[in-house]
Amino acid sequence: MSAVPQIEEFYTQRGKRARQLRDAGQKVVGYFCCFVPDEIIAAFDMVPYRIQGCPSEPIDRADAYIEPMACPFARSCLNMAVKGDYDFLDGFVAPHSCDTIERMYSIWHHNTPAAFNHFLNVPHMMGPSSDTFYRKELEFFIKALENWSGRTLDQEKLKETVKLYNRRRARLRELYALRKPDPPLISGVEITELMVAGMGIPACEHIELIDNMIAEVVKRPKPKHQKLPRIFIWGNEIDDTAFIRLVEDSGSYVVMDDLCTGSRIFWDDVPETDDPLDGIVSRYLHINCPRSYIPAAGNREEDLQNRFGHIGDFVKQWRADGVILYIIRYCDTCELDGPDLREHLNAMGIPVIMIEDDYSISTIGQLRTRIQAFLEMII
């Protein structure tokens, strides 16, 4: 059976599977960003649900609760919450990822309280003391989940969950490898759908989807060779296919990304340590989100290499011809990283375009000319 219809279903009817599981008695815990470890929630037999926005719906209700100069992704999520689209969340967790999400915690849980509400503090700095701090915050988080659920976290269970999620990570890396050939065997739109589909379902079900998709893709007839530019996308949340579709429809292949809805959340495994929290801390705190501060290192070139080296490696390995920096408007940390990353990539000879978007399908067409002109430029 083709994997595509089910992926489409999970992609278009978000929350549907989580609702089903909830009806069957499981608790669903919604969270923002990539600093809340899925493994911990899943180890309580709860369903981790990454909160997404909806760029195809106007933000009409949220304006009564949050300022228009806040990140439109966050506003869109809140808009859905106040409309009741997230009424299936038993728990709500906001990490201190950025100023907006931090403020969002009190606005969200005050206006649409879940049964369980938790704020997870996350250091911006990276260093040994930050690991200790974040670990302690995770312990508080576990304690809170224990109090709420009336259950004690089973260490062995957590270890198993870490293994399970690592298995998913491995499968996703395998999937992303299918983007390496020219032309890629799978489109950026398909990848996006599969990633988003996995955000609200148990990992084992996502693994099945990925496996089916991989099996299907390798069986497909070889794509017709057509020389089109290969594009790498950097940014934060892209939880809708519209932008990727625009880029691909304008005549390109989206072959790799550094997005918190893409490679950023799965690329590195959680080390399977004796104390599972050790591994979780070392993985999650060191996720390369622009909100995290990588200590200054050496001269300018070395500093940029230290901050963005992994992106340069991706660009080389996936043979990208150009990079799109996709920034959701009002994201200060992305806006500050953008020019530095551009400098780093330009030094490698890679053309870069910075796009600032409103996270709205209704205005995405305005980006068409920019994207198309960029592709015409780099051919």
Partner: protein, 276 residues
């Protein structure tokens, strides 16, 4: 063989037909209406009639401009960035920076020595720095858009307009009028504001000689003067600034044919039936 370019901008639709020696043999400008498809057809028909050509005599037809996707008979859609660059390369080979001020957007394009686009910047989300901005303000001032440039050249004490947000600027103009500011002084202030905004945007590319101003904005002597003030040296303007994109589109079509590419036959047939 002849080649046609059609540029459907937000306010004007332009058609240029060139011959194999890259001479312009026809240029036509008409207003863009709500119905792009129909309009594209009408303008193209008229251009062909005036030239005494038939559709089959056209090699490539390239559509550009923001309505480019609504030209059913075009062989290819290419952005106005690439087309403007190509048009400018034909008109002024020494140009390195193109500043295009259109009805609803403005853009800067940087060209290398071969006239290829190496970088560009666009403002298309906000009316500030576009023809639309001037149109709104002209209405507020109760004057014709086409008079803005001429009037501004009579300015004696330029009124500083600090807002480039169209709504805010409208407020500001109203209060300056109430304070007794003269219309030419306000017009000049508006051009300063818009030139400042556009030139700042273009500076992200690094401004180099020569600079050409194209699009509707280039027809406004007050605005061109203000841009020269910001850039710090005289700028070029094409004889007919509005057709730069359409010219570039036609020439891009010729380039494609020179490369041995042939238009898509099915599309052509669709086009031919359109013209019968």
């Amino acid at each position: 063989m002849n080649f046609a370019g059609i540029d459907i901008g937000s306010t004007m639709t332009k058609v240029v037909i060139v011959d194999e020696q890259e001479n312009i043999i026809q240029e036509l400008i008409g207003p863009t209406g709500a119905e792009h498809r129909h309009l594209a057809l009408t303008v193209m028909k008229e251009a062909l009639e005036k030239t005494g050509l038939i559709f089959e005599q056209l090699g490539f037809i390239v559509a550009t401009g923001y309505g480019r996707i609504n030209v059913p008979f075009a062989d290819k859609q290419i952005t106005e960035i690439t087309c403007h660059a190509r048009g400018v390369r034909a008109l002024f080979p020494s140009v390195r920076i193109v500043i295009d001020i259109g009805g609803q957007d403005s853009k800067g394009i940087k060209l290398n020595q071969e006239g290829r686009v190496v970088n560009f910047v666009m403002n298309d989300k906000c009316a500030a720095g576009t023809g639309r901005f001037l149109e709104v303000i002209a209405e507020t001032l109760g004057i014709e858009l086409t008079d803005l440039g001429r009037l501004s050249l009579q300015a004696e004490n330029i009124v500083q307009i600090s807002n480039t947000c169209t709504v805010f600027a409208e407020h500001e103009v109203t209060s300056r009028l109430a304070e007794g500011a003269k219309i030419p002084d306000i017009c000049a202030g508006l051009h300063e504001a818009i030139a400042g905004r556009v030139v700042n945007m273009v500076r992200t590319l690094g401004i180099e000689k020569e600079v050409v101003v194209t699009g509707g904005g280039a027809k406004n002597p007050g605005l061109v003067k203000a841009i020269e003030g910001k850039v710090g040296f005289p700028v070029l303007t094409p004889p007919e600034p509005l057709i730069t994109g359409a010219l570039g589109a036609a020439l891009t079509g010729k380039d494609l044919a020179d490369k041995g590419l042939a238009p898509d036959q099915e599309r052509r047939l669709e086009g031919v039936t359109f013209f019968k």
